[in-house]
């Protein structure tokens, strides 16, 4: 479903040259949640943006459902629901207006938009604030609206970049529960997160990125064998401070 091959990206600012992503390869299948983990600045967000075709890679390519994002970015975008940590909301629109607008963008018929809105409102507990202006919503409510926005057109692939950033424990649990549900519905999901304990529960496979490089790629058992650590938190600390 998702195939990433040798993705590389270098940023240049004046004399400074930062290799944000270095020849990263991995894949994720339908019904699988791939946890792309790593410390801040590891290259997770850059990788996500390249997968979606928002950033052109210097080398390599990303393919979703047989379409390469560097060839047909719109074709890829149509199959993807994207939630980023920095995603905002339209503060002068109500949550319902914003979601309907995105339904329009994906050219969904009005009846289908309403049907999906009801469905998502119930699952993500949006009903009570659906008709409030987005500027009045809390961080958690905004993040849930963004998740609903990404799911509205029922894409087969989800790219979730820190979907629980700034959320409290309860708020993050709502999101993780829903991700679990999406997995069971057969969606292919790539998720970046710092909530390692919850990620360990929901992700099928993991990729550990550090300074733009893929250090480990595999399921939990494989990672445990490779690193000699029991859980993701220990693996992560080991990654940052190799003893």
């Amino acid at each position: 479903m998702i195939s990433i091959q040798n993705l590389s990206k270098t940023y240049r600012t004046g004399k400074v040259r930062v290799e944000a992503v270095r020849s990263v390869s991995f894949s994720a299948q339908a019904g699988e949640v791939y946890g792309l983990l790593g410390p801040n600045g590891a290259g997770k967000t850059t990788t996500m943006r390249m997968i979606l075709g928002l950033l052109p890679p210097d080398e390599g390519w990303a393919e979703i459902g047989g379409i390469r994002s560097d060839v047909d970015a719109d074709g890829v975008k149509r199959q993807v629901g994207f939630v980023s940590a920095s995603a905002g909301v339209y503060q002068w629109l109500t949550a319902r207006e914003m979601l309907t607008f995105f339904g329009d963008i994906y050219s969904m018929p009005s009846a289908l938009i309403d049907e999906r809105l009801d469905e998502l409102a119930e699952l993500l507990q949006l009903t009570e604030f659906l008709d409030q202006r987005c500027s009045t919503l809390s961080t958690g409510q905004r993040q849930r609206i963004n998740l609903a926005r990404a799911l509205l057109h029922d894409p087969p692939v989800m790219l979730l970049d820190e979907p629980t950033l700034g959320l409290d424990v309860v708020g993050s649990q709502v999101i993780f529960n829903y991700i679990d549900l999406l997995k069971s519905q057969g969606k292919a999901i790539i998720m970046c997160t710092h909530r390692l304990e919850q990620a360990q529960g929901v992700c099928s496979r993991f990729g550990l990125l550090h300074r733009g490089e893929m250090i480990h790629d595999g399921n939990l058992a494989e990672l445990q064998q490779e690193t000699g650590r029991e859980n993701l938190v220990d693996m992560f600390i080991n990654l940052l401070n190799p003893a």
Partner: protein, 750 residues
């Protein structure tokens, strides 16, 4: 449980209008938009008009001290001063008689006989300031009016009083409001007198009606000093109204333009939008429609607010001549504002798309708004005509056209030129905005610090960073400005002065366009031959440069002439006359300078130095960052703009021809991968133009050589155009140096 989901298959195509309506809805809910949109026209105009009216009335009182307004009228007759007296004497006497009788019939007891359009009491006919010139010359009368010593000039030709009117009058006026008012007043009074006479005669004996005076066509002259300095000078509200409306339209467009680009980027909604399967151009168009709609709404509300204020406070009395503020006028002005709003909205979007935050966008827009005040204020100068360069100067052309619409003095050709050029600018600005908006480099670019510009690379580089070339360009602008200022202060009284001036000019040119770029490139450890394109090209390019250098000038001259004629034949003739007058003295002195000095300092030095910077440093570094077409076009426009500033004045008529020559030079430099063919083209082009003037007296002895006031012979244009076309075709068919193109692609891909 697992199933293979498929993406939603759209059943209807995406419509950017839906996107635009969302942008518009969001913008219109923002209270900051509402403040600019509604509160400004509601509050600002009444306050402004109160101040305006108070100022005008106090000013009028100070000027007139309650005295009736007097016009200054100068009269002349080719038949001598006695003939003048014979015609105007009876007219004046009859006018006084008529006024007295009308006052008597109406039971009035004052001396006031008429009121002006601005409701100012006018002096009685014989109490105006009459100047009767003797039979010296008509030219003297014209100069009296042109210099503003009189408001209107009358040339009187006696008729035959027994059979027809007493005489024929031709009025000479300036374009300003006061002169036009004076002419309208005179015509109105004389018509009034004719009507009175006819009524009297018919009442008495049933005689056939005949006017006392007949009118010949008016003559509109250029103003030398603007409107006369006599009392109660006319204030042209017709110039102020469009300026306020345009500034308000800009104000209306600024906030949504920033909010829908930099604001969205700051709030994180732009990335979400870019992650949706919509073409970038559609997103940009929807934003453009939203900004334009708000700008037009602001324009409409301001127009209505202003019209209501003008009507309520009776400010229309300050409109000159035939000016009016009817519904039709308002509709026309609104049409122009829509056009201007389209242009300015696109410019705003192109600029704000670069900004990462609201604050940064504001920082970018402040200089643009301040810059646009320049043409706005210039358009208020009385007597400015919508013609030639002014007809294609952004903003100024729309302001002058709107003024003409209000004054009912629109001329079709300049109006069409103004409208089509503004539409063209709007199209170009939208194109630029569409290319930059939402690109990954804009979406995720870092804000570089100033120190990065001065950082020195570690090793020798084959190319120069565009930032260094653009920084050099920014530095050269004030240097060029100072250079022009210094040269302007040097004496040109003698040919020795001129030779010294040329030498200093050459030194400045070398300093500005060679020394400074050289130092910057050296500092950046760039390979100088590569950066400036100094390698020897194939000889065929040198030959093409030579042919184009010898053949482009008639085409350029024709272009300048065509450009001048856009404003109408009369304006063109006046412009040509003034050009000949301005330059003939200078050319006379230049002819005494050695031709070698001329060749070095007016041909070779500027050609090499300007090619070194414009086609060398600027174009070559830009072509490694963007497409070659962009680099050629950008360097050509900058080349044109640098030539606009000449002799401390803005010579806008030089912009288009110089830019076009810049395009040819850029194309030649790109194809040949060297600036040397361009140096040949540039130096021969300069040499031909300068030496044609230099040797004109000798050349004029040949019959085939045109006089300086004549147009370029069409045979010259055809032959040179044909040769230039062949050279361009040959150039077009040549292949770009492959090494250069490969390297460019490599740079772009990085």
């Amino acid at each position: 449980m697992n199933q293979q989901p498929t993406s939603y298959n759209p059943v209807r195509p995406f419509s950017w209008w839906r996107l635009a309506s969302k942008e518009l809805r969001e913008t219109l809910r923002d209270r900051r938009t509402i403040i600019t949109l509604v509160l400004m026209p509601l509050l600002v105009y009444p306050i402004l008009s109160l101040i305006f009216r108070t100022f005008l009335l106090s000013n009028a009182e100070a000027l007139g001290a309650g005295q009736p307004l007097q016009y200054s009228i100068v009269c002349f007759s080719e038949n001598g001063s006695q003939a003048l007296a014979n015609v105007l004497g009876p007219v004046g006497a009859r006018m006084t008689q008529m006024d007295d009788q009308i006052r008597k019939e109406n039971g009035q007891d004052n001396n006031v006989t008429a009121f002006s359009r601005s409701n100012v009491p006018l002096a009685r006919f014989h109490e105006h300031q009459w100047q009767f010139l003797d039979d010296k010359s008509k030219a003297e009368m014209i100069s009296v009016v042109e210099s503003g010593q009189a408001d209107v000039g009358l040339v009187v030709t006696p008729g035959s009083p027994q059979t027809g009117p007493l005489g024929t009058v031709q009025m000479f006026t300036r374009p300003d409001g006061r002169s036009q008012d004076a002419a309208n007043y005179l015509r109105g009074r004389l018509n009034e007198l004719t009507a009175y006479q006819n009524a009297q005669q018919l009442a008495r004996a049933g005689l056939a009606p005949r006017p006392m005076l007949e009118f010949d066509n008016d003559v509109l002259m250029d103003s030398i000093s603007g409107p006369s300095n006599s009392k109660a000078k006319s204030f042209s509200l017709a110039s102020l109204v469009p300026l306020i409306l345009v500034l308000m339209t800009i104000t209306g467009a600024v906030y949504p333009a920033i909010d829908l680009t930099a604001g969205e980027r700051e709030r994180g909604t732009l990335e979400t939008l870019m992650a949706a399967p919509i073409p970038r151009a559609s997103i940009l168009m929807s934003k453009f429609v939203a900004v334009l709609s708000v700008a037009v709404m602001t324009a409409m509300l301001n127009l209505v607010g202003m019209a209501a204020t003008i009507w309520t406070f009776q400010l229309d009395q300050f409109l000159p001549g035939d000016a009016s503020f009817t519904t039709l006028t308002m509709a026309k002005v609104l049409g122009l504002l829509v056009l201007f709003a389209a242009f300015f909205s696109a410019v705003l979007l192109a600029v704000t798309s670069y900004a990462k935050s609201f604050k940064e966008a504001q920082a970018y827009l402040v200089p643009i708004i301040l810059l646009s005040l320049g043409p706005g204020l210039m358009a208020m100068f009385p007597g400015l005509e919508l013609a030639g360069t002014l007809a294609i100067t952004p903003m100024m052309n729309i302001l002058l056209l709107a003024r003409d619409v209000i004054e009912n003095t629109v001329q079709v050709v300049p109006a069409l030129v103004a409208i089509s050029s503004t539409a063209l600018y709007a199209g170009v600005a939208i194109w630029v905005a569409a290319r930059t908006f939402g690109s990954s480099s804009m979406l995720y670019s870092n804000q570089g610090s100033v120190s990065e510009l001065f950082q020195r690379p570690d090793g020798i580089s084959r190319t120069l960073q565009p930032a260094a070339a653009l920084g050099c360009m920014a530095l050269l602008f004030p240097v060029n400005f100072v250079m022009i200022g210094v040269l302007g202060r040097l004496s040109t009284d003698t040919s020795a002065d001129l030779a010294a001036r040329f030498t200093i000019m050459g030194a400045f040119t070398v300093l500005a366009f060679v020394a400074i770029p050289y130092l910057i490139a050296s500092h950046q450890r760039a390979n100088l031959s590569e950066v400036f394109g100094l390698k020897m090209p194939r000889y065929v390019y040198l030959a093409i440069g030579l042919v184009l250098g010898l053949t482009l000038w008639p085409l350029v001259a024709s272009l300048i002439e065509f450009y001048g004629r856009l404003g109408g034949e009369a304006a063109h003739a006046a412009w040509q006359k003034s050009l000949v007058a301005e330059t003939s003295d200078l050319i006379g002195k230049i002819r005494k300078v050695s031709p070698v000095t001329i060749a070095i300092f007016l041909s070779l030095v500027p050609a090499f130095c300007e090619e070194f910077f414009f086609r060398g440093m600027l174009m070559r570094s830009l072509s490694r960052w963007r497409a070659a077409t962009f680099a050629i076009a950008f360097s050509a426009v900058v080349f044109g703009l640098f030539h606009v500033l000449s002799n401390s004045v803005i010579a806008l008529d030089r912009l288009l021809p110089t830019t076009m020559v810049g395009l040819v030079l850029g194309y030649l430099a790109w194809k040949s991968d060297s600036i040397l063919p361009g140096v040949i083209l540039h130096s021969f082009h300069n040499a031909v133009v300068v030496f044609l003037g230099y040797y004109q007296p000798r050349l004029q002895k040949f019959e085939w050589f045109p006089d300086e006031s004549q147009s370029m012979p069409w045979t010259w244009v055809a032959v040179s155009g044909g040769c230039a076309a062949i050279a361009m075709l040959l150039l077009f068919r040549m292949k770009v140096d492959s090494g250069q193109e490969d390297e460019r692609k490599l740079e772009v891909s990085r």
